[in-house]
């Protein structure tokens, strides 16, 4: 059974939970897989560090938590410092390139790729969509889920009237991810 464990980390307000939710939704509703999302509760939800755990699997998911993720999606230096030690050997790190500086702290054998998601979002007109750029980047690099599934999950999840902007952000991240993945 193929199971992929993902940890999304960043700061409250960056859309960390929504990023995890869209990945889960794309898998569970539009991608024909099982997905479980667990979000951090407590002080994390109120402004400082914030994270989501997503398990995507071909089979029913028993143990619901992500302890040692296959993939990290990181949007802050704090999240990077906190979650890098948990990454599985040979795992993958996707990070916001202007907010996270790996600075040689990556374990050997780890694939790490950055994307200037905040800058891309600002160029598209709203910094707020940086999490959607990250979702696109995730989809482009990992190929875990069909682009169409992620696209539908984004459309299900964003407020009305912002669909066009969010789809642009998704495509921007996705295309950048495809280039990096090659």
């Amino acid at each position: 059974m193929a199971k992929t464990e993902i940890r999304v980390g960043g700061l409250g307000g960056q859309g960390v939970i929504l990023c995890g939710s869209i990945i889960g939704k794309a898998a569970a509703i539009h991608g024909g897989k099982h997905a479980t999302l667990i979000q951090a509760f407590g002080p994390e939800a109120r402004g400082s560090a914030c994270s989501a755990q997503v398990t995507v699997s071909d089979d029913v998911i028993g143990y619901p938590y992500v302890k040692n993720p296959d993939i990290l999606v990181l949007m802050s230096q704090d999240a990077f410092n906190q979650f890098i030690p948990q990454l599985k050997p040979g795992g993958m790190v996707l990070y916001e390139a202007e907010l996270v500086k790996p600075d040689g702290k990556l374990p050997e054998g780890v694939r790490a790729m950055g994307v200037p998601a905040t800058r891309f979002a600002e160029e598209l007109g709203r910094r707020l969509v940086l999490n959607i750029v990250m979702v696109g980047f995730f989809a482009g690099v990992t190929g875990l889920l069909p682009f169409e599934a992620v696209e539908k999950a984004v459309l299900d999840s964003v407020p009305r009237g912002t669909e066009e902007l969010n789809l642009k952000a998704l495509k921007k991240g996705y295309d950048f991810g495809r280039e990096q993945a090659v």
Binding site: G24, I29, Q39, F41, V60, I61, G62, P64
Partner: protein
């Protein structure tokens, strides 16, 4: 009858167990909640408060748990389907009114999203600490029904089932969630209203004057109901009462009343119990679990089988009434019962009582705050299988 489409959010959703439970309540016809929100159950009443103006009903935020747990019972006698939503510390305060709902046969659903105790404990830490409290926590002798969902989908499905059981048996029916099931987000399929069976209240067809509020027959121990304000003279009290609902505090009447109330569940336990079994026949070791622990346990069972152990799983979909007869039967062939729970050993006592020495019973406790590690349960299984 079928669900009222107004309350049914048909479609495929990616929502957490709290929200799914709320949607289950709305689908089942719940139109009144008096809430005193508490972590990790808050999202249930939050969603109810948000949804109910469009569906048509009332949400009131109460001043405390005592008020919440009795206001809902008033609404039942006004004709509504209701639920009471809380977590451990709130549940402790509501215990008086649990007994009241039982003695007055007020059909209602109680959702307990369990968190770590005792006392304030860890508000966002999962636990299965209240399994014995719901069974024994109110004074006097009483019976309840308790369902244990292990996913957001089951939070939806079982809430509807809980409402239907409450109307059928007129006892408080508990949905024993926990913080993980409440806060985890998964796919939830909500069918068309026409595909959802809803049990209507057992309204009387008798005329005022002929109707007695607690009249029953030997064949049917569940009395018919009326709504306050419909012209029937009724009296509802927490005192020991007769068929007319009036206080009748004699030893024979106490025996008659309590015998019927308790018997509704104990004499029908065989119809109520629900154990989901996997590979129990021929198993040396049987893992008994419920709620979120049943998912972690299943992962351990599969790993143990891969190592060659003959292990089965018996999941308590309904914890109360406890399936004692089935446990006895399983004990004729199984050598060891392994019972993981997110508490220091509660339902394991029921397993021990039912098995009565016919097989070994091993408790795998967890103080709460997290689910068991798969390895912890796996090791207990492998040790038992040796």
């Amino acid at each position: 009858m079928h669900a009222d489409p107004k309350g049914v959010l048909t479609g495929v959703h990616f929502i957490d167990g709290d929200h799914a439970a709320c949607e289950g309540a709305l689908a089942a016809g719940c139109r009144f909640v008096a809430g005193y929100p508490i972590t990790p159950s808050t999202e249930i009443v939050e969603r109810f408060a948000h949804r109910i103006p469009k569906v048509g009903g009332v949400f009131i935020q109460m001043e405390d748990e005592l008020a919440a747990s009795i206001a809902i019972q008033g609404a039942v006698w006004g004709g509504q389907k209701v639920m009471n939503v809380t977590s451990g510390p709130g549940l402790s305060l509501m215990m008086e009114h649990l007994g009241y709902a039982f003695i007055t046969e007020t059909p209602c659903v109680w959702i307990d999203v369990q968190r770590c105790g005792p006392s304030t404990g860890m508000p966002t830490g999962p636990a299965q600490h209240d399994m014995m409290q719901v069974k024994w926590g109110s004074h006097g002798d009483f019976q309840i029904i308790a369902l244990c969902p292990n996913s957001p989908q089951e939070c939806f499905d079982f809430t509807i089932r809980a409402f239907n059981m409450a109307e059928t048996w007129r006892v408080p029916v508990f949905l024993m969630m926990d913080e993980v099931v409440g806060h985890m987000t998964e796919r939830v399929d909500i069918p068309e209203a026409s595909e959802i069976e809803v049990v209507e209240r057992k309204w009387t067809k008798k005329k005022p004057g002929e109707y007695k509020v607690y009249e029953t027959t030997p064949e049917d121990p569940v009395p018919e109901m009326v709504k306050a304000g419909d012209g029937y003279r009724i009296h509802v009290t927490g005192l020991t009462h007769n068929e007319k609902g009036y206080p009748d505090m004699t030893v024979p009447n106490q025996e008659r009343m309590l015998g019927r109330l308790i018997g509704k569940i104990t004499q029908n336990a065989h119809k109520l119990v629900d154990v989901r079994e996997d590979g129990v026949e021929g198993a040396d070791v049987v893992v008994v679990s419920y709620g979120i622990t049943s998912r972690v346990a299943m992962a351990a069972v599969e790993q143990a089988r891969a190592k060659g152990a003959k292990v089965g799983s018996a999941r308590l979909v309904i914890a109360w009434p406890f399936p004692a007869e089935r446990m006895k039967e399983i004990a004729r062939t199984a050598k060891v019962f392994v019972v993981p729970e997110m508490n220091m050993g509660q339902m394991v006592q029921e397993v021990e009582r039912a098995v009565a020495g016919a097989a070994k019973v091993v408790s795998v406790p967890h103080a709460g705050g997290s689910v068991h590690e798969v390895d912890t349960i796996l090791n207990a299984i492998m040790e038992a299988a040796r």
